[in-house]
């Protein structure tokens, strides 16, 4: 039979660091499953808007997406829980979490192949002024995207939603006091503006790989099994800890750019982490239901 042809789209453009693991995934799959599966990576947001990619895969306009869990919470309300853990990939994989996610995605007609994890890429708080502790954050205007809203509110800060292209000017002019983003790429962009980076970061990153259900069902059960297993048990574990070097390089760059690292005291860090989790899970319970939230949290909590 002809190989199953899969058009794929990603949350970020090609050649951007965050899509590097997916590039490798495509390469390995096309080689290992030659004659059975052929992934054709069409591009990123320039092909399909990031927040619409999961819906595009669901309706069949696209075959596969490598996306952010929080981008399709409106379709699969529990998807955002992929961020809500301090465990690493192996620890999460040991629970039933991925099996449960498979079921929850199937309910909305999406095939959850697995996730490409990046535990080290957590979210950090970047402030344009000196901060010495969590108390300093009270009343500060912090730019968030919707997922991080509950945490910022829990901190007593004031969340502001702004388009990405306005963060720089808003921070420069003092319309906002800070923002929350991942650990990479900030030094180059925000040189001269960021004063304090609050440590530790919170949550974890993992990028789900989703497929159109009809397309997935074109594969034989045996192929489905081998394909999912390849991602979950072979490829994903290899990707989880590839970021250390990049983070170290970026950190040096951030320090050179004048970013100071505020290490929260052990007690404050624990409070910060607990606050982050409680706030986000409360939101999940509200949006997806208390029962399923409790069940998933059981698997993801330390």
């Amino acid at each position: 039979a002809d190989p199953v042809q899969i058009n794929a789209v990603t949350l970020a453009p090609r050649s951007v660091y965050i899509t590097q693991p997916f590039a490798q995934f495509v390469e390995e799959v096309n080689e290992r499953f030659a004659g059975e599966i052929e992934i054709n990576w069409r591009g990123g947001p320039e092909v399909m808007p990031p927040f619409g990619q999961a819906e595009g895969v669901r309706n069949g306009a696209m075959g596969m997406t490598y996306t952010s869990p929080s981008y399709y919470q409106g379709l699969v309300p529990t998807s955002g829980t992929m961020n809500l853990s301090f465990l690493n990939y192996e620890e999460i994989a040991a629970t039933d979490y991925h099996e449960r996610m498979t079921e929850l995605h199937a309910e909305q007609d999406l095939a959850f192949i697995g996730e490409i994890p990046a535990t080290q890429l957590n979210f950090q708080l970047y402030m344009g002024e000196e901060v010495t502790g969590l108390a300093d954050l009270e009343g500060k205007r912090i730019r968030v995207f919707p997922t991080l809203l509950p945490l910022v509110q829990a901190l007593g800060a004031e969340p502001i939603v702004l388009p990405m292209e306005e963060i720089y000017t808003a921070l420069e002019r003092g319309t906002i006091d800070g923002f929350m983003q991942g650990p990479l790429g900030q030094a180059a962009q925000f040189e001269g503006l960021v004063e304090t980076v609050v440590q530790p970061g919170v949550y974890r990153a993992g990028f789900p790989v989703l497929m159109n259900m009809d397309l997935f069902n074109q594969m034989s059960p045996d192929l489905q099994e081998r394909f999912t297993t390849f991602l979950r048990e072979d490829f994903a574990p290899r990707m989880d800890n590839i970021w250390a070097e990049d983070i170290a390089t970026e950190r040096a760059a951030q320090e050179a750019a004048g970013f100071n690292y505020l290490m929260l005291s052990e007690e404050e860090a624990a409070r910060y982490e607990a606050m982050a989790m409680d706030a986000a899970w409360a939101m999940t319970a509200e949006n997806a239901g208390a029962e399923i939230a409790a069940e998933l949290r059981e698997m993801l909590d330390r």
Partner: protein, 438 residues
């Protein structure tokens, strides 16, 4: 399929439909419909087209365009723009091309607002062009300077496109914002020299007239009455950003409000003027936004076909010197700008171009400045540069697409000249950056 084959298959019918008189927005939509049906799995593709079209308009970055329309229409309908021109005539009546120069000045002034060139055109085109034509300015001198200077919006900080460039290309945003200032001013200077030169050679394009002797007192009174209050508008736009009171997009709203307020203070904001202002700015926004949504989705389709990546590969695989490759990259950006919006171009090219430029040992800030001029040039380039359609939407009745193309071309040539100057004199970018970030 080779990229140029795909491109031809897609662009020829698009241009054909437009030439046949199907409104631009529907021509995009027609190609998008057929394209998504064929490429993205039949009706699933059309469903996706619906989602993408809706998503492309549901965007905060487009809101300033609509708000600028309110400003422009209010200035025009309440007579604020006319008073401004009368006053300028009192001072500089004999200077040929003074209104064209004023348009460039307006472009520079409002370039302190973020957004792409479309916002500037919406504002200046609707407030200035009708009156300029009434005063005998020919199209090349009324439409041209506005089309040309609108692009300064992205060349003078704050500039949302510069920020996006920094984010996608992973380059220092602060340095880009400093680096683009001199190129932006250089472009403004080229426009001014061109306007003065052309008005000298072809005086009929921008009539001067013998102003009846006006006393100094009268001039000063007119200035105080007609120009000083405009500082309220300027403050409500530029000042609020500078003081951190509003973000650049929000400043478009405070600007619109201030303009209406000024009109009201002058007792010119009758219910009819207000109603007409809102109705007609909403209408023009609709024309523009419908085209933008068609063009955005069109870009997505083009990216899906892989034709755009094919172009990029074709440039990179040319067997020429590093310098020439970089120059070709910039020319490719201009070329893509003729039928695609800035954001998709950035997403497609930057992640590939920036590492190569760095690998060549060239300054990424210098490249960023060139890149932005190129984006800006493409946006005003025929046949599909989005800025041209915006101009068509706001220009006085009877302005043809041909008028707009002819008015745009000299300024595109000036932009290309600016690209050459920046290319061969990188110091235009690097010296200010080095001074600021030592």
């Amino acid at each position: 399929m080779e990229w140029y084959v795909t491109l031809t298959i897609v662009l020829v019918p698009l241009f054909g439909l437009m030439l046949a008189g199907l409104p631009v927005a529907f021509a995009f939509l027609a190609i998008n419909l057929v394209g998504s049906y064929i490429l993205m799995g039949g009706f699933s593709g059309v469903e996706q087209l619906v989602l993408n079209t809706v998503g492309s308009v549901t965007s905060f970055t487009l809101i300033p365009i609509a708000l600028f329309m309110i400003m422009g229409e209010a200035m025009f309908r309440s007579g604020i723009a006319i008073d401004l021109m009368d006053t300028l005539d009192k001072w500089f009546g004999k200077l040929r091309g003074r209104l064209a120069l004023m348009a460039v000045g307006g472009g520079v002034l409002f370039s302190t607002l973020t957004g792409n060139s479309m916002g500037s055109i919406a504002l200046l085109g609707s407030s200035l062009t009708p009156e300029m034509e009434k005063r005998g300015y020919a199209k090349p001198m009324s439409l041209g300077p506005i089309l040309g200077s609108s692009g300064l919006a992205i060349m003078i900080p704050p500039s949302s496109l510069a920020v996006v460039l920094g984010v996608i290309g992973d380059i220092s945003i602060g340095r880009i914002l400093i680096g683009i200032i001199v190129p932006g001013l250089l472009m403004a200077l080229l426009y001014v020299l061109y306007i003065l030169g052309r008005c000298h050679l072809q005086p009929h394009l921008a009539p001067s007239f013998d102003v009846p002797k006006v006393s100094m007192g009268e001039k000063l009174t007119a200035t105080v009455v007609n120009i000083v209050p405009l500082s309220l508008i300027v403050f409500s736009v530029v000042g609020v950003i500078f003081l951190g009171i509003a973000t650049p997009s929000e400043a478009a709203a405070t600007g619109a409000f201030a303009t209406l307020l000024l009109a009201a203070l002058r007792r010119r904001l009758t219910p009819k003027v207000f109603g007409d202002t809102m109705f007609s700015s909403a209408n023009i926004s609709v024309m523009v936004l419908l085209i933008v949504s068609g063009a955005v989705t069109f870009s997505q389709l083009l990216a899906f076909t892989g034709a755009t990546f094919g172009m990029v590969d074709a440039v990179l695989s040319l067997d020429i010197s590093d310098d020439a490759i970089v120059f070709m990259m910039i020319m490719l950006v201009v070329f893509m700008g003729m039928f695609m919006g800035p954001l998709p171009i950035m997403l497609i090219t930057l992640p590939i171009f920036v590492p190569i430029v760095q690998q060549f040992g060239m300054d990424p800030i210098w490249f960023a400045a060139l890149f932005l001029v190129a984006i800006e040039t493409g946006a005003t380039s025929p046949p599909f540069g989005a800025a041209l359609f915006v101009m068509k939407a706001v220009a006085p009745k009877g302005t043809t697409m041909g008028d707009i193309y002819r008015a745009a071309i000299p300024f595109i040539l000036l932009d290309l000249l600016a690209i050459l100057l920046i290319f061969f004199i990188p110091e235009l970018v690097t010296v200010p950056v080095d001074l600021m970030f030592r």
